[in-house]
Symmetry: C2
């Protein structure tokens, strides 16, 4: 057993070294790498990914780790080994030539998606999307668990324990209880004037405000690096090193504020996992929905609260005199304005889950046995937007081309966004009973909030499942009604309906 | 033979992928990585370096590459294989436990040097320096060529083809012809007033000037990324991707200007090597002195010329009105001021080679057979500075602690700096006969300068040796008198002596 543990440790260290290398190269490419260097970086990234795949799925690794998983080892190591083995079994079941073809197909689709999006021309991507779906279906045939339906495998890949049955329950509730309310709001007579947010605000001054905001959120600059990218994201380097990016728009002040808060929600999770899980699957395989719950928690429940803006409005007014005379409530009203939106990443809090519902329904259909209407995908997409949100895209990049996910075959990913949003409502409700959130926010004691998150959620990493964390943190099972009720309460006040 | 070539290609690609990964991680660490993440990055870097060492020096690699080197292959591939084999044979001759101990010793010395430098206390480093030297001597015993003297091996490692005999000739000339002249200048009555350069200049405005300077130098932003670090450097990612760093001092305007020009000299070399050498030793193993000749060429022969400042002074004056009424010649006088300097990296053009002479003489002694005066190293250092430059360090960090090189066992590196400076004088002389440099600089046609450098020097990469490039570019063998005469001519005018 000692030998197996030593083998496993070395196996993970090599994996971690290559993973950090690829993370760093990808982050470099997304942030500063000169354009003409991208092709070489991509080529070397493919080499390293292939190396890592070979290392991770070798027969030797499988035999040793399988044997280790049957040993009597401490529970944290056991969970780490289980999570490693799960991925290993899924990956090694795919024949090498199939895997290579899958990677090639995805790379090709990534290129054509970027091109199609830029030109707003779906025909440039349509055929590659079909290829990706067909290759993904081919890959799914090799999955070791022959009982699981194809789309269930994909859902489980992004969120262990989730499947169509559980997501159906969740989305049925959204459709039944929330959708009619949303449609009422979207068709209400009240028009919130948010033009103040859309004036021209210098990026220099926005940066100064974000800097003060980071101080307010107690961002530890020895552990968190912040810069800008076209699409904000978080990248985890190690337990003491997280990179977040944000985006400044001169004509959309809210963009940098909420990108920063959102990504910091992810970062804080990574920083507050039990440090002894660093470099293990207990850090790497945290539930996607759980992660999204933390970014949404900070973005919506903290960052759009009266107490938060009572504390931060003076600093905003210091940079931008346009906000003098505006109250926290007035600002929040503008920031929360609901619109018939076409673009998911620009959607308000209320309509957001409907964007996800649409994608979930489409993915479910695509991966159903009988599906073959590849030439109807855009049509189906647009029909759902018309039906649920009453909008019609004016071009392809506002339609099915808007998200990068499908070009990378990340089917099954979207639903975690809505699930995470729902988790955060339940967490907020639980935290309220234990922490005086308003007092903490007004008095600049963000640490009492992050401490609760650490103790009740973050510390566990992936040692506990999402269901277990939910139970530990809120003392009850997941209940989507917290989310639905929160949205209805907030927006019925805002729109008097 | 086809199989051997295929093997070799794969061998190099894996090497290149790991090298790019390590370059990216090191660059990330030097520029943006949050402080608390450094330890993890270091650990992973060590893992990858070990992996690379094992890959590069395997028996399989040795046998195959040795066999390939005897095949009838095209001359470029042949040279690449030769250079690869040279390193491979040197590295694999070192027993693994000796190599590991060497790496540990160097890591320990790196840590203690940083600490000692910060505290300006040589006693904190003295013992580790002794350990590094002794371990380096131990490693040298395994060198495959038993004929070579220890210091010759080190010199050859940084500059293929160089040895004590050749360096002695060079430094003897410096000592004989240049040193007396330098001492005359340093003791002359003329005092150049360079206080204008040392006033407070806002970094914002310096950045704007540097930006215009980069445009003037036709820096291609799709290939070159520029940022700041404590110690400026250049890092080569690929033939289309070079990173350079510079340093802004509020009270030393020349710092950012000449760091940028110097590093861009290195960058330009990397960018102008024949692109088909990308990822081969013909790109990687360019002579250190040749590289330094290009950075020094841009820094001193271009960047301190009248034509250069005739073209760029208006842009400097636009940012800093303090320079209104100053002529190009007056500015160059200030920028060239010679001082009794203690610190190599702050030394002026004239005294610079003496800093290197001192280090060369010390290194030669340290690696001589009979050397054992480890406790006298600082004393010897200070005595030479007193003798040659007439200065006495006031603390340890101005003395033997000033450079990082020895803590990393980079013995043999320093001499390439002086040799490169001398190369650049000879290149300048040759270029003058073929290009109207002043006209190009005044009319903003830097491309005619970079074109000459590309055609006569850069394109060859390491396909030609430094001696061969010198002959091709200047039609004669290396002759240090160009350098000595240039310095004497320039400084006798400046100091009327």
């Amino acid at each position: 057993m000692e030998e197996l543990i030593a083998y496993y440790k070395e196996y993970k260290e090599k994996k971690n070294a290559l993973t950090l290398a690829m993370n760093t190269m990808s982050f470099d490419k997304a942030t500063i790498a000169p354009k003409d260097g991208h092709q070489y970086i991509n080529k070397m990234l493919t080499m390293l990914a292939t190396d890592l795949f070979i290392h991770e799925t070798s027969d030797e690794a499988y035999v040793n780790i399988k044997e280790l998983s049957n040993c009597d080892i401490d529970p944290e190591l056991k969970r780490d080994v289980e999570l490693t083995l799960l991925l290993l079994e899924e990956n090694r079941s795919i024949p090498k030539d199939v895997y290579r073809k899958f990677v090639q197909t995805v790379n090709q689709a990534d290129t054509s998606w970027h091109d199609a999006k830029e030109k707003s021309d779906y025909t440039l991507f349509e055929n590659d999307l079909k290829n990706v779906i067909e290759m993904q279906k081919e890959v799914l045939k090799y999955h070791p668990n022959k009982e699981m339906k194809p789309y269930d495998i994909l859902l489980d890949r992004f969120e262990r324990g989730m499947n169509q049955k559980r997501y159906d329950e969740f989305f049925d509730l959204i459709k039944e209880k929330l959708l009619p309310f949303i449609q009422k709001v979207l068709n209400s007579n009240k028009e919130i004037d948010d033009s103040l947010l859309l004036q021209n605000y210098s990026v220099d001054k926005q940066e100064k405000f974000i800097d003060e905001l980071c101080t307010y959120l107690q961002v530890d600059k020895n552990k968190v690096y912040l810069c800008t990218t076209e699409h904000p994201f978080t990248s985890f380097f190690s337990t003491n090193d997280v990179r977040i990016t944000t985006k400044f728009h001169e004509n959309a002040l809210a963009s940098a504020i909420y990108s920063t808060i959102h990504e910091y929600g992810h970062a804080l999770y990574g920083l507050q996992v039990n440090p002894k899980y660093d470099g293990t699957e207990l850090h790497n395989q945290i539930s996607f929905a759980m992660h999204e719950s933390q970014s949404r928690f900070l973005e919506n429940y903290i960052g759009k609260s009266k107490a938060f803006w009572d504390a931060n409005l003076p600093s905003l007014q210091k940079q931008f005199s346009e906000f003098e005379g505006i109250s926290a409530n007035e600002l929040i009203e503008m920031l929360s304005k609901s619109k018939k939106s076409l673009i998911r990443i620009e959607a308000d809090e209320l309509t957001y889950p409907i964007h996800i519902l649409i994608r979930y329904e489409l993915e479910k259909e695509i991966f159903s046995e009988e599906f073959n209407q590849y030439d109807k995908l855009k049509e189906k997409w647009d029909a759902k937007y018309k039906e649920y949100l009453g909008v019609i895209p004016s071009n392809d990049s506002e339609s099915i081309l808007q998200d990068i996910h499908w070009s990378g075959s990340a089917f099954g990913y979207f639903p975690t966004y809505a699930l995470g949003s729902a988790y955060s409502a339940q967490f907020f409700n639980a935290m309220k009973n234990e922490v005086d959130i308003d007092k903490a926010l007004i008095s600049g004691q963000f640490d009492s909030i992050s401490k609760w998150l650490k103790e009740n959620i973050h510390q566990y990493g992936a040692y506990k499942t999402a269901d277990e964390v939910m139970m530990l943190a809120t003392k009850e099972e997941f209940n989507a009604n917290y989310y639905i009720e929160y949205l209805i309460e907030k927006y019925s006040k805002l729109y008097n309906c």
